[in-house]
Amino acid sequence: MEFFDLFREDRWPHMFCPGCGIGTVMNCFHRAFSEMNMDQDRTVFVSGIGCASRIIGYIRADSIHTTHGRALAVATGIKLANPDLNVIVFSGDGDIGAIGGNHFINAARRNVDISVFCINNYIYGMTGGQASTTTPYKSYSTTTPYGSKEYPFDLAEVAVASGANYVARWTIRNVKELTSSMTKAMQKKGFSFVEIASPCPTSFGRRNRMADPTQMFEWLKIISVRKEKSHAWGLDQLDLNIEGRITIGEFIERNRSPYGLIA
Protein backbone atom coordinates (compact mmCIF):
# COMPACT_ATOMS: atom_id res chain seq x y z
CA MET A 1 0.00 0.00 0.00
CA GLU A 2 1.51 3.31 -1.13
CA PHE A 3 1.47 6.30 1.25
CA PHE A 4 -1.35 8.05 -0.62
CA ASP A 5 -3.40 4.86 -0.80
CA LEU A 6 -3.86 5.31 2.92
CA PHE A 7 -3.80 9.10 3.12
CA ARG A 8 -5.97 11.69 1.37
CA GLU A 9 -3.71 13.31 -1.19
CA ASP A 10 -6.39 15.93 -1.93
CA ARG A 11 -5.96 17.24 1.62
CA TRP A 12 -2.20 17.71 1.32
CA PRO A 13 -0.24 19.67 2.47
CA HIS A 14 -1.13 18.83 6.08
CA MET A 15 -1.46 21.37 8.87
CA PHE A 16 1.21 20.11 11.28
CA CYS A 17 4.09 22.38 12.40
CA PRO A 18 7.72 21.83 11.39
CA GLY A 19 9.41 19.57 13.92
CA CYS A 20 6.16 17.96 15.06
CA GLY A 21 6.26 14.24 15.83
CA ILE A 22 2.93 13.46 14.19
CA GLY A 23 4.48 12.89 10.74
CA THR A 24 6.67 10.13 12.15
CA VAL A 25 3.65 8.55 13.81
CA MET A 26 1.74 8.64 10.52
CA ASN A 27 4.67 7.00 8.76
CA CYS A 28 4.97 4.25 11.36
CA PHE A 29 1.24 3.71 11.22
CA HIS A 30 1.28 3.50 7.42
CA ARG A 31 3.93 0.80 7.62
CA ALA A 32 2.11 -1.20 10.32
CA PHE A 33 -1.25 -0.90 8.61
CA SER A 34 -0.03 -1.88 5.14
CA GLU A 35 2.14 -4.74 6.38
CA MET A 36 -0.88 -6.19 8.16
CA ASN A 37 -2.92 -5.96 4.97
CA MET A 38 -5.72 -4.34 6.92
CA ASP A 39 -8.89 -3.53 4.96
CA GLN A 40 -9.28 0.23 5.12
CA ASP A 41 -12.92 -0.07 4.09
CA ARG A 42 -13.62 -2.18 7.17
CA THR A 43 -11.70 0.17 9.49
CA VAL A 44 -13.07 3.28 11.17
CA PHE A 45 -10.78 5.99 12.55
CA VAL A 46 -11.94 8.01 15.53
CA SER A 47 -10.45 11.06 17.23
CA GLY A 48 -11.29 13.86 19.64
CA ILE A 49 -9.89 17.38 19.57
CA GLY A 50 -6.29 18.55 19.36
CA CYS A 51 -3.31 18.23 17.04
CA ALA A 52 -3.17 14.41 17.13
CA SER A 53 -6.89 14.24 16.42
CA ARG A 54 -6.41 15.93 13.07
CA ILE A 55 -4.55 12.85 11.76
CA ILE A 56 -7.74 10.99 10.93
CA GLY A 57 -8.90 13.76 8.61
CA TYR A 58 -5.97 12.82 6.38
CA ILE A 59 -6.72 9.09 6.35
CA ARG A 60 -8.53 7.73 3.32
CA ALA A 61 -11.15 5.77 5.25
CA ASP A 62 -14.34 6.29 7.24
CA SER A 63 -13.30 8.67 9.98
CA ILE A 64 -15.01 10.67 12.69
CA HIS A 65 -13.51 13.71 14.41
CA THR A 66 -15.60 14.01 17.56
CA THR A 67 -15.91 16.41 20.49
CA HIS A 68 -13.03 17.03 22.91
CA GLY A 69 -12.26 13.96 25.01
CA ARG A 70 -15.07 11.78 23.71
CA ALA A 71 -13.27 9.75 21.04
CA LEU A 72 -13.20 6.60 23.18
CA ALA A 73 -16.91 6.80 23.96
CA VAL A 74 -17.76 7.25 20.26
CA ALA A 75 -15.36 4.44 19.34
CA THR A 76 -17.06 2.20 21.91
CA GLY A 77 -20.42 2.90 20.27
CA ILE A 78 -19.07 2.13 16.78
CA LYS A 79 -17.36 -1.11 17.82
CA LEU A 80 -20.30 -2.45 19.80
CA ALA A 81 -22.88 -1.45 17.18
CA ASN A 82 -20.87 -3.21 14.46
CA PRO A 83 -18.29 -5.62 15.95
CA ASP A 84 -17.06 -6.54 12.44
CA LEU A 85 -15.37 -3.15 12.05
CA ASN A 86 -11.80 -2.44 13.13
CA VAL A 87 -11.82 0.70 15.27
CA ILE A 88 -8.67 2.80 15.67
CA VAL A 89 -8.39 5.93 17.79
CA PHE A 90 -5.79 8.68 17.40
CA SER A 91 -5.69 10.94 20.40
CA GLY A 92 -3.52 13.18 22.53
CA ASP A 93 -2.70 13.83 26.16
CA GLY A 94 -5.50 16.42 26.45
CA ASP A 95 -8.22 14.06 25.24
CA ILE A 96 -6.94 11.02 27.12
CA GLY A 97 -5.51 12.43 30.32
CA ALA A 98 -7.76 15.42 31.05
CA ILE A 99 -11.19 16.04 29.52
CA GLY A 100 -11.68 12.40 28.51
CA GLY A 101 -9.93 10.77 31.46
CA ASN A 102 -13.10 9.07 32.65
CA HIS A 103 -13.72 7.57 29.21
CA PHE A 104 -10.07 6.43 29.08
CA ILE A 105 -10.15 4.40 32.30
CA ASN A 106 -13.62 3.03 31.61
CA ALA A 107 -12.90 2.02 28.00
CA ALA A 108 -9.79 0.19 29.26
CA ARG A 109 -11.79 -1.42 32.09
CA ARG A 110 -14.55 -2.47 29.70
CA ASN A 111 -11.81 -3.89 27.44
CA VAL A 112 -13.61 -2.96 24.23
CA ASP A 113 -11.70 -4.22 21.18
CA ILE A 114 -10.23 -0.92 19.99
CA SER A 115 -6.67 0.30 19.42
CA VAL A 116 -5.68 3.67 20.84
CA PHE A 117 -2.63 5.61 19.67
CA CYS A 118 -2.05 8.51 22.05
CA ILE A 119 0.45 11.11 20.91
CA ASN A 120 1.69 12.68 24.12
CA ASN A 121 3.41 15.99 23.41
CA TYR A 122 3.18 17.16 27.03
CA ILE A 123 1.28 20.34 26.11
CA TYR A 124 -1.91 21.72 24.56
CA GLY A 125 -0.45 22.47 21.15
CA MET A 126 -3.57 23.40 19.19
CA THR A 127 -4.55 26.17 21.62
CA GLY A 128 -1.04 27.57 21.78
CA GLY A 129 0.86 25.87 24.59
CA GLN A 130 -1.05 25.51 27.86
CA ALA A 131 -0.09 22.94 30.50
CA SER A 132 -1.65 19.50 30.17
CA THR A 133 -1.97 16.64 32.66
CA THR A 134 1.32 15.25 31.35
CA THR A 135 3.34 18.48 31.40
CA PRO A 136 6.50 17.64 33.38
CA TYR A 137 6.84 19.07 36.89
CA LYS A 138 8.43 22.55 36.93
CA SER A 139 8.33 23.00 33.14
CA TYR A 140 6.95 26.11 31.49
CA SER A 141 3.82 26.73 29.49
CA THR A 142 1.54 29.72 28.92
CA THR A 143 -0.54 28.70 31.94
CA THR A 144 2.45 27.70 34.08
CA PRO A 145 4.63 30.77 33.55
CA TYR A 146 6.46 30.07 36.84
CA GLY A 147 6.83 26.36 36.18
CA SER A 148 4.24 23.63 36.63
CA LYS A 149 3.44 22.87 40.25
CA GLU A 150 1.54 19.70 39.39
CA TYR A 151 2.77 16.14 38.98
CA PRO A 152 1.99 14.59 35.61
CA PHE A 153 -0.02 11.48 34.80
CA ASP A 154 1.75 8.38 33.56
CA LEU A 155 -0.85 7.47 30.92
CA ALA A 156 0.57 4.04 30.14
CA GLU A 157 0.51 3.10 33.84
CA VAL A 158 -3.10 4.28 34.07
CA ALA A 159 -4.00 2.08 31.10
CA VAL A 160 -2.33 -0.95 32.72
CA ALA A 161 -4.07 -0.34 36.04
CA SER A 162 -7.44 0.14 34.29
CA GLY A 163 -7.31 -3.25 32.60
CA ALA A 164 -6.07 -2.79 29.02
CA ASN A 165 -4.96 -5.96 27.23
CA TYR A 166 -1.90 -4.39 25.61
CA VAL A 167 0.05 -1.29 26.70
CA ALA A 168 3.30 0.12 25.34
CA ARG A 169 5.10 3.46 25.29
CA TRP A 170 7.76 4.66 22.88
CA THR A 171 9.16 7.97 21.77
CA ILE A 172 9.03 8.90 18.12
CA ARG A 173 12.75 8.11 18.01
CA ASN A 174 11.91 4.40 18.44
CA VAL A 175 10.33 3.96 15.01
CA LYS A 176 10.88 0.22 14.74
CA GLU A 177 9.54 -0.56 18.19
CA LEU A 178 6.66 1.87 17.69
CA THR A 179 5.68 0.29 14.37
CA SER A 180 5.80 -3.18 15.90
CA SER A 181 3.71 -2.03 18.89
CA MET A 182 1.14 -0.50 16.55
CA THR A 183 0.88 -3.84 14.77
CA LYS A 184 0.52 -5.70 18.07
CA ALA A 185 -2.11 -3.23 19.23
CA MET A 186 -4.18 -3.75 16.09
CA GLN A 187 -3.83 -7.53 16.28
CA LYS A 188 -4.68 -7.72 19.96
CA LYS A 189 -8.28 -8.46 20.84
CA GLY A 190 -9.47 -6.09 23.54
CA PHE A 191 -8.36 -2.60 24.53
CA SER A 192 -4.83 -1.73 23.46
CA PHE A 193 -3.01 1.49 24.20
CA VAL A 194 0.21 2.80 22.72
CA GLU A 195 1.52 6.07 24.15
CA ILE A 196 3.91 7.94 21.89
CA ALA A 197 6.16 10.56 23.48
CA SER A 198 6.37 13.24 20.82
CA PRO A 199 8.12 16.58 20.40
CA CYS A 200 6.27 19.89 20.13
CA PRO A 201 9.00 22.46 19.53
CA THR A 202 6.41 25.12 18.68
CA SER A 203 4.45 25.09 21.92
CA PHE A 204 6.47 23.08 24.44
CA GLY A 205 10.07 23.31 23.28
CA ARG A 206 10.01 27.05 22.69
CA ARG A 207 9.16 27.75 26.35
CA ASN A 208 11.55 25.16 27.73
CA ARG A 209 14.82 26.03 25.98
CA MET A 210 14.21 23.51 23.19
CA ALA A 211 12.89 25.67 20.36
CA ASP A 212 14.96 23.77 17.83
CA PRO A 213 13.39 20.41 16.93
CA THR A 214 16.76 18.70 17.22
CA GLN A 215 16.95 19.81 20.87
CA MET A 216 13.61 18.15 21.51
CA PHE A 217 14.80 14.98 19.81
CA GLU A 218 17.86 15.05 22.03
CA TRP A 219 15.65 15.59 25.09
CA LEU A 220 13.50 12.59 24.21
CA LYS A 221 16.67 10.52 23.89
CA ILE A 222 17.99 11.62 27.27
CA ILE A 223 14.78 11.21 29.25
CA SER A 224 13.62 7.88 27.85
CA VAL A 225 14.90 4.77 29.56
CA ARG A 226 14.07 1.22 28.49
CA LYS A 227 11.95 -0.75 30.89
CA GLU A 228 14.70 -3.21 31.77
CA LYS A 229 17.17 -0.46 32.73
CA SER A 230 14.55 1.61 34.41
CA HIS A 231 13.63 -1.26 36.72
CA ALA A 232 17.27 -1.94 37.47
CA TRP A 233 17.78 1.72 38.33
CA GLY A 234 14.72 1.65 40.58
CA LEU A 235 13.18 4.68 38.87
CA ASP A 236 9.72 5.77 39.80
CA GLN A 237 7.94 6.03 36.47
CA LEU A 238 5.38 8.46 37.82
CA ASP A 239 7.88 10.96 39.14
CA LEU A 240 8.34 12.61 35.79
CA ASN A 241 10.08 15.97 35.56
CA ILE A 242 12.15 17.89 33.09
CA GLU A 243 15.40 16.36 34.37
CA GLY A 244 13.70 13.07 35.14
CA ARG A 245 13.10 10.00 33.08
CA ILE A 246 10.27 8.22 31.35
CA THR A 247 10.22 4.49 30.96
CA ILE A 248 9.66 3.08 27.48
CA GLY A 249 8.79 -0.42 26.43
CA GLU A 250 5.89 -2.85 26.46
CA PHE A 251 4.20 -2.81 29.84
CA ILE A 252 1.54 -5.47 29.60
CA GLU A 253 0.24 -8.11 27.28
CA ARG A 254 -2.68 -10.18 28.49
CA ASN A 255 -5.75 -11.86 27.09
CA ARG A 256 -8.80 -10.92 29.14
CA SER A 257 -11.78 -11.50 26.87
CA PRO A 258 -12.89 -8.32 25.22
CA TYR A 259 -16.27 -6.78 25.96
CA GLY A 260 -18.95 -8.92 24.32
CA LEU A 261 -22.51 -7.99 23.84
CA ILE A 262 -24.42 -11.22 24.24
CA ALA A 263 -23.77 -13.37 27.29
Binding site: R8, D10, R11, Q40, D41, R42, V44, V46, I56, G57, R60, A61, D62, S63, I64, H65, T66, T67, R70, A73, V74, A75, T76, G77, I78, L80, A81, N82, D84, L85, N102, H103, N106, L261, I262, A263
Partner: protein
Protein backbone atom coordinates in the same frame (compact mmCIF):
# COMPACT_ATOMS: atom_id res chain seq x y z
CA UNK B 1 -40.63 -10.34 20.23
CA UNK B 2 -42.24 -6.94 19.83
CA UNK B 3 -45.27 -6.01 21.86
CA UNK B 4 -48.26 -7.40 19.95
CA UNK B 5 -50.87 -5.13 18.39
CA UNK B 6 -53.78 -4.64 20.78
CA UNK B 7 -54.48 -3.04 24.13
CA UNK B 8 -51.82 -2.96 26.83
CA UNK B 9 -51.42 -1.55 30.31
CA UNK B 10 -47.93 -0.26 31.10
CA UNK B 11 -45.95 2.55 32.70
CA UNK B 12 -45.07 5.51 30.48
CA UNK B 13 -41.35 4.71 30.55
CA UNK B 14 -42.13 1.07 29.69
CA UNK B 15 -44.30 2.20 26.77
CA UNK B 16 -41.29 4.24 25.57
CA UNK B 17 -39.14 1.07 25.66
CA UNK B 18 -41.66 -0.84 23.57
CA UNK B 19 -42.13 2.06 21.17
CA UNK B 20 -38.37 2.31 20.65
CA UNK B 21 -38.19 -1.41 19.83
CA UNK B 22 -41.05 -1.02 17.37
CA UNK B 23 -39.20 1.88 15.75
CA UNK B 24 -36.18 -0.36 15.18
CA UNK B 25 -33.88 0.57 18.06
CA UNK B 26 -30.79 -1.66 18.04
CA UNK B 27 -28.33 0.34 20.16
CA UNK B 28 -28.95 1.89 23.56
CA UNK B 29 -26.38 3.58 25.79
CA UNK B 30 -27.30 5.36 29.00
CA UNK B 31 -26.50 6.31 32.56
CA UNK B 32 -28.98 5.79 35.41
CA UNK B 33 -30.97 8.83 36.50
CA UNK B 34 -34.37 9.30 38.10
CA UNK B 35 -37.05 9.53 36.74
CA UNK B 36 -35.89 7.95 33.46
CA UNK B 37 -34.23 4.83 34.89
CA UNK B 38 -37.03 2.41 33.99
CA UNK B 39 -36.19 2.99 30.33
CA UNK B 40 -32.61 1.75 30.85
CA UNK B 41 -33.77 -1.09 33.08
CA UNK B 42 -36.41 -2.12 30.57
CA UNK B 43 -33.98 -2.05 27.66
CA UNK B 44 -31.33 -3.97 29.65
CA UNK B 45 -33.82 -6.84 29.59
CA UNK B 46 -35.38 -6.26 26.19
CA UNK B 47 -32.39 -5.39 23.97
CA UNK B 48 -30.63 -8.77 24.23
CA UNK B 49 -33.99 -10.44 23.57
CA UNK B 50 -34.34 -8.40 20.37
CA UNK B 51 -30.72 -8.89 19.28
CA UNK B 52 -29.68 -5.31 20.00
CA UNK B 53 -26.98 -3.80 22.19
CA UNK B 54 -27.52 -2.34 25.66
CA UNK B 55 -24.65 -0.45 27.21
CA UNK B 56 -24.36 1.31 30.55
CA UNK B 57 -21.77 4.05 30.11
CA UNK B 58 -19.69 5.95 32.68
CA UNK B 59 -21.70 9.16 32.33
CA UNK B 60 -24.23 10.90 30.12
CA UNK B 61 -21.58 12.47 27.89
CA UNK B 62 -20.24 8.99 27.13
CA UNK B 63 -23.79 7.76 26.55
CA UNK B 64 -24.66 10.30 23.88
CA UNK B 65 -21.19 9.95 22.33
CA UNK B 66 -21.65 6.17 22.06
CA UNK B 67 -25.02 6.48 20.33
CA UNK B 68 -23.56 9.01 17.88
CA UNK B 69 -20.86 6.48 16.99
CA UNK B 70 -23.43 3.68 16.76
CA UNK B 71 -25.67 5.75 14.49
CA UNK B 72 -22.87 6.11 11.92
CA UNK B 73 -22.76 2.33 11.58
CA UNK B 74 -26.34 2.51 10.34
CA UNK B 75 -28.13 1.50 13.53
CA UNK B 76 -31.00 3.29 15.23
CA UNK B 77 -29.63 4.51 18.53
CA UNK B 78 -31.11 6.08 21.64
CA UNK B 79 -30.26 7.31 25.13
CA UNK B 80 -32.53 8.32 27.99
CA UNK B 81 -31.87 10.73 30.82
CA UNK B 82 -33.29 13.52 32.96
CA UNK B 83 -32.39 17.21 33.56
CA UNK B 84 -28.86 16.97 35.01
CA UNK B 85 -27.84 14.34 32.46
CA UNK B 86 -29.51 16.28 29.68
CA UNK B 87 -27.39 19.31 30.63
CA UNK B 88 -24.25 17.18 30.29
CA UNK B 89 -25.32 16.05 26.81
CA UNK B 90 -25.70 19.53 25.35
CA UNK B 91 -22.33 19.81 23.60
CA UNK B 92 -22.92 16.50 21.85
CA UNK B 93 -26.45 17.48 20.81
CA UNK B 94 -24.86 20.38 18.94
CA UNK B 95 -22.32 17.92 17.50
CA UNK B 96 -25.09 15.56 16.33
CA UNK B 97 -26.91 18.49 14.71
CA UNK B 98 -23.73 19.70 13.00
CA UNK B 99 -22.77 16.23 11.74
CA UNK B 100 -26.41 15.37 10.87
CA UNK B 101 -26.38 12.24 13.01
CA UNK B 102 -29.82 10.71 13.61
CA UNK B 103 -30.19 9.99 17.33
CA UNK B 104 -33.06 9.97 19.81
CA UNK B 105 -32.66 11.43 23.29
CA UNK B 106 -35.40 10.83 25.84
CA UNK B 107 -35.44 13.48 28.58
CA UNK B 108 -37.87 12.60 31.35
CA UNK B 109 -38.00 16.03 32.96
CA UNK B 110 -37.86 16.50 36.73
CA UNK B 111 -37.89 19.60 38.94
CA UNK B 112 -34.82 21.77 38.50
CA UNK B 113 -32.54 23.69 38.64
CA UNK B 114 -29.55 21.56 39.66
CA UNK B 115 -30.33 18.31 41.48
CA UNK B 116 -33.70 19.88 42.29
CA UNK B 117 -36.57 17.45 42.74
CA UNK B 118 -35.28 14.10 41.43
CA UNK B 119 -38.55 12.20 41.85
CA UNK B 120 -40.99 14.98 40.99
CA UNK B 121 -42.22 16.58 37.85
CA UNK B 122 -40.98 19.73 36.12
CA UNK B 123 -40.87 21.17 32.61
CA UNK B 124 -37.79 23.33 32.96
CA UNK B 125 -35.79 21.73 30.12
CA UNK B 126 -37.89 22.95 27.20
CA UNK B 127 -35.70 25.93 26.31
CA UNK B 128 -32.54 23.95 26.99
CA UNK B 129 -33.77 21.37 24.48
CA UNK B 130 -33.63 24.01 21.77
CA UNK B 131 -30.90 26.38 22.92
CA UNK B 132 -28.72 24.32 25.28
CA UNK B 133 -25.73 23.92 22.97
CA UNK B 134 -23.68 26.76 21.51
CA UNK B 135 -24.31 28.13 18.05
CA UNK B 136 -27.39 27.98 15.85
CA UNK B 137 -28.58 24.46 15.18
CA UNK B 138 -31.82 22.57 14.67
CA UNK B 139 -33.44 20.03 16.95
CA UNK B 140 -36.82 18.35 16.96
CA UNK B 141 -38.54 18.03 20.35
CA UNK B 142 -41.79 16.20 21.01
CA UNK B 143 -43.88 16.35 24.19
CA UNK B 144 -45.92 13.27 25.13
CA UNK B 145 -48.93 13.83 27.36
CA UNK B 146 -50.15 10.27 27.88
CA UNK B 147 -48.89 6.68 28.02
CA UNK B 148 -50.20 6.28 24.47
CA UNK B 149 -48.03 9.24 23.45
CA UNK B 150 -45.00 7.64 25.12
CA UNK B 151 -45.41 4.77 22.68
CA UNK B 152 -46.48 6.76 19.60
CA UNK B 153 -44.15 9.74 19.96
CA UNK B 154 -41.12 7.54 20.67
CA UNK B 155 -41.69 5.94 17.27
CA UNK B 156 -42.33 9.34 15.74
CA UNK B 157 -39.10 10.68 17.28
CA UNK B 158 -37.13 7.91 15.53
CA UNK B 159 -38.97 8.47 12.25
CA UNK B 160 -38.32 12.23 12.24
CA UNK B 161 -34.72 11.80 13.32
CA UNK B 162 -34.11 9.29 10.51
CA UNK B 163 -35.92 11.35 7.92
CA UNK B 164 -34.24 14.68 8.63
CA UNK B 165 -30.97 13.51 10.22
CA UNK B 166 -31.61 15.76 13.21
CA UNK B 167 -31.13 14.89 16.90
CA UNK B 168 -34.66 14.36 18.18
CA UNK B 169 -35.66 14.77 21.79
CA UNK B 170 -38.63 13.13 23.45
CA UNK B 171 -39.36 15.70 26.17
CA UNK B 172 -41.37 13.60 28.58
CA UNK B 173 -41.83 14.47 32.23
CA UNK B 174 -41.80 12.53 35.50
CA UNK B 175 -45.60 12.25 35.65
CA UNK B 176 -45.93 10.88 32.13
CA UNK B 177 -42.92 8.59 32.57
CA UNK B 178 -44.22 7.08 35.80
CA UNK B 179 -47.93 7.10 35.00
CA UNK B 180 -49.52 3.72 34.34
CA UNK B 181 -52.17 3.55 31.71
CA UNK B 182 -53.83 1.84 28.85
CA UNK B 183 -52.47 2.21 25.35
CA UNK B 184 -52.97 0.60 22.01
CA UNK B 185 -50.38 -0.86 19.69
CA UNK B 186 -51.92 -0.41 16.26
CA UNK B 187 -51.99 -3.12 13.58
CA UNK B 188 -49.81 -1.02 11.31
CA UNK B 189 -46.99 1.18 12.51
CA UNK B 190 -45.25 3.49 10.07
CA UNK B 191 -41.47 3.15 10.30
CA UNK B 192 -39.09 5.51 8.49
CA UNK B 193 -35.46 4.62 7.75
CA UNK B 194 -32.78 7.11 6.77
CA UNK B 195 -31.76 7.36 3.13
CA UNK B 196 -28.24 5.96 2.73
CA UNK B 197 -25.47 6.25 0.16
CA UNK B 198 -24.71 3.01 -1.66
CA UNK B 199 -21.91 4.31 -3.88
CA UNK B 200 -18.26 3.97 -2.86
CA UNK B 201 -15.24 6.20 -2.32
CA UNK B 202 -16.86 9.42 -3.26
CA UNK B 203 -16.01 12.96 -2.25
CA UNK B 204 -19.39 14.48 -1.54
CA UNK B 205 -20.53 12.73 1.61
CA UNK B 206 -22.65 15.71 2.65
CA UNK B 207 -24.14 16.58 -0.74
CA UNK B 208 -27.87 17.29 -0.52
CA UNK B 209 -30.87 17.47 -2.83
CA UNK B 210 -34.05 19.54 -2.69
CA UNK B 211 -35.01 17.95 0.65
CA UNK B 212 -31.83 19.57 2.08
CA UNK B 213 -31.15 16.26 3.85
CA UNK B 214 -27.99 14.47 2.63
CA UNK B 215 -28.14 10.72 2.14
CA UNK B 216 -25.99 9.16 4.84
CA UNK B 217 -22.82 7.19 4.07
CA UNK B 218 -22.60 4.29 6.53
CA UNK B 219 -19.27 3.34 8.17
CA UNK B 220 -17.73 0.16 6.84
CA UNK B 221 -19.35 0.23 3.39
CA UNK B 222 -16.40 1.66 1.50
CA UNK B 223 -17.58 5.24 1.13
CA UNK B 224 -14.65 6.61 3.17
CA UNK B 225 -16.55 9.57 4.57
CA UNK B 226 -14.99 12.09 6.93
CA UNK B 227 -17.23 13.36 9.73
CA UNK B 228 -16.31 16.40 11.82
CA UNK B 229 -17.95 18.92 14.12
CA UNK B 230 -15.76 21.56 12.51
CA UNK B 231 -17.38 23.65 9.83
CA UNK B 232 -17.18 21.48 6.73
CA UNK B 233 -17.85 21.47 3.01
CA UNK B 234 -19.94 18.86 1.17
CA UNK B 235 -16.94 16.52 1.14
CA UNK B 236 -17.04 16.63 4.95
CA UNK B 237 -13.62 18.28 5.01
CA UNK B 238 -12.93 21.00 7.59
CA UNK B 239 -12.95 24.57 6.33
CA UNK B 240 -12.96 28.10 7.73
CA UNK B 241 -14.50 29.54 4.59
CA UNK B 242 -17.11 32.16 5.55
CA UNK B 243 -19.49 31.31 2.75
CA UNK B 244 -19.31 27.57 3.26
CA UNK B 245 -20.02 27.98 6.97
CA UNK B 246 -22.93 30.34 6.35
CA UNK B 247 -24.45 27.95 3.81
CA UNK B 248 -24.05 25.00 6.17
CA UNK B 249 -25.57 26.66 9.25
CA UNK B 250 -28.49 28.07 7.25
CA UNK B 251 -29.18 24.75 5.53
CA UNK B 252 -29.15 22.84 8.83
CA UNK B 253 -31.85 25.14 10.20
CA UNK B 254 -33.73 25.36 6.92
CA UNK B 255 -34.04 21.57 6.58
CA UNK B 256 -36.24 21.61 9.69
CA UNK B 257 -38.02 24.91 9.00
CA UNK B 258 -38.93 23.90 5.46
CA UNK B 259 -40.57 20.70 6.73
CA UNK B 260 -42.20 22.16 9.81
CA UNK B 261 -45.65 21.18 8.59
CA UNK B 262 -44.56 17.55 8.49
CA UNK B 263 -42.86 17.78 11.88
CA UNK B 264 -45.32 19.89 13.88
CA UNK B 265 -48.32 18.39 15.61
CA UNK B 266 -50.81 19.68 18.16
CA UNK B 267 -54.23 18.59 19.34
CA UNK B 268 -57.00 21.18 19.51
CA UNK B 269 -60.14 20.76 21.57
CA UNK B 270 -63.00 23.14 20.75
CA UNK B 271 -61.15 25.28 18.19
CA UNK B 272 -62.23 28.92 17.95
CA UNK B 273 -63.32 29.16 21.59
CA UNK B 274 -63.34 32.59 23.21
CA UNK B 275 -60.83 31.45 25.80
CA UNK B 276 -58.09 28.95 25.01
CA UNK B 277 -55.82 27.00 27.32
CA UNK B 278 -52.45 25.97 25.91
CA UNK B 279 -50.39 23.21 27.53
CA UNK B 280 -48.16 20.19 26.88
CA UNK B 281 -47.07 17.13 28.83
CA UNK B 282 -48.59 16.21 32.19
CA UNK B 283 -50.30 19.55 33.06
CA UNK B 284 -52.46 19.16 29.96
CA UNK B 285 -54.57 16.65 31.97
CA UNK B 286 -55.60 19.38 34.41
CA UNK B 287 -56.03 21.87 31.59
CA UNK B 288 -58.37 19.44 29.84
CA UNK B 289 -60.47 18.96 32.95
CA UNK B 290 -60.58 22.74 33.52
CA UNK B 291 -61.75 23.16 29.94
CA UNK B 292 -64.60 20.68 30.49
CA UNK B 293 -65.96 22.91 33.28
CA UNK B 294 -66.77 25.87 30.99
CA UNK B 295 -68.47 25.88 27.62
CA UNK B 296 -66.54 28.81 26.16
CA UNK B 297 -63.08 27.37 26.89
CA UNK B 298 -61.02 25.42 24.37
CA UNK B 299 -57.62 23.86 24.60
CA UNK B 300 -54.43 23.20 22.66
CA UNK B 301 -52.10 20.30 23.60
CA UNK B 302 -48.74 20.87 21.94
CA UNK B 303 -47.19 17.61 20.73
CA UNK B 304 -44.26 19.24 18.93
CA UNK B 305 -42.34 21.87 20.90
CA UNK B 306 -39.42 22.39 18.48
CA UNK B 307 -39.69 23.58 15.83
CA UNK B 308 -42.41 25.60 17.53
CA UNK B 309 -45.74 24.99 15.72
CA UNK B 310 -46.40 28.73 15.25
CA UNK B 311 -48.71 28.46 12.25
CA UNK B 312 -50.79 25.62 13.67
CA UNK B 313 -51.13 27.40 17.00
CA UNK B 314 -52.10 30.64 15.26
CA UNK B 315 -54.92 28.81 13.47
CA UNK B 316 -56.06 27.12 16.67
CA UNK B 317 -56.30 30.34 18.71
CA UNK B 318 -57.42 32.60 15.87
CA UNK B 319 -60.35 34.72 17.10
CA UNK B 320 -59.78 33.89 20.77
CA UNK B 321 -59.81 36.85 23.12
CA UNK B 322 -57.88 35.19 25.91
CA UNK B 323 -55.07 32.62 25.96
CA UNK B 324 -53.82 30.99 29.16
CA UNK B 325 -50.60 29.01 29.06
CA UNK B 326 -50.24 26.20 31.61
CA UNK B 327 -46.74 24.86 32.21
CA UNK B 328 -44.48 23.60 34.99
CA UNK B 329 -41.76 26.23 34.80
CA UNK B 330 -41.53 30.01 35.20
CA UNK B 331 -42.78 30.61 31.67
CA UNK B 332 -40.50 29.10 29.02
CA UNK B 333 -42.85 28.11 26.19
CA UNK B 334 -45.07 30.98 27.34
CA UNK B 335 -42.93 33.45 25.39
CA UNK B 336 -43.45 31.45 22.19
CA UNK B 337 -47.19 31.26 22.80
CA UNK B 338 -47.34 34.95 23.67
CA UNK B 339 -45.56 35.83 20.42
CA UNK B 340 -47.98 33.81 18.33
CA UNK B 341 -51.05 35.09 20.23
CA UNK B 342 -49.97 38.72 19.93
CA UNK B 343 -49.46 38.28 16.20
CA UNK B 344 -53.05 37.00 16.07
CA UNK B 345 -54.25 40.13 17.86
CA UNK B 346 -54.97 38.45 21.15
CA UNK B 347 -53.98 40.81 23.96
CA UNK B 348 -54.92 38.74 26.98
CA UNK B 349 -52.12 36.20 27.18
CA UNK B 350 -51.42 34.96 30.67
CA UNK B 351 -49.25 32.33 32.30
CA UNK B 352 -50.37 29.78 34.84
CA UNK B 353 -47.09 28.48 36.16
CA UNK B 354 -46.19 25.90 38.78
CA UNK B 355 -42.72 24.72 39.81
CA UNK B 356 -43.35 22.89 43.08
CA UNK B 357 -42.97 19.42 41.64
CA UNK B 358 -46.65 18.62 41.28
CA UNK B 359 -49.18 18.97 38.50
CA UNK B 360 -51.88 21.63 38.96
CA UNK B 361 -55.40 20.74 40.04
CA UNK B 362 -58.13 21.64 37.54
CA UNK B 363 -59.69 23.89 40.19
CA UNK B 364 -56.49 25.95 40.42
CA UNK B 365 -56.59 26.60 36.68
CA UNK B 366 -60.31 27.46 36.80
CA UNK B 367 -59.83 29.95 39.61
CA UNK B 368 -56.80 31.44 37.82
CA UNK B 369 -58.93 32.00 34.72
CA UNK B 370 -61.72 33.58 36.78
CA UNK B 371 -59.49 35.66 39.00
CA UNK B 372 -57.52 37.28 36.26
CA UNK B 373 -54.23 36.69 38.01
Amino acid sequence: MKLQPGTHFLQGNEACVEGALWAGLTFYAGYPITPSTEIAEGLAVRMPEEGGAFLQMEDEIASISAIIGASWTGTKAMTATSGPGFSLMQESIGYAAMTETPIVIVDVMRGGPSTGLPTMVGQGDVMQAKYGSHGDYPVIALAPSSVQDMFDLTIRAFNLSEKYRVPTILLADAEIGHMRGKFIVPQRVEIVDRRVRTDKVWHDGFAYDETLVPKMPIFGKGFRVHVTGLSHDIAGYPTSDHEVHEELVRRLQEKVDRHSEDICRLVVHRPGSKRMLVSYGSPSFAAWEAMMESEDVGMVDLKTLWPFPSQMLAQAISGSSEVVMVELNLGQMFREVQRVACDEGCRQVRLFSKVGGEVPRPSEIISFMKGGG
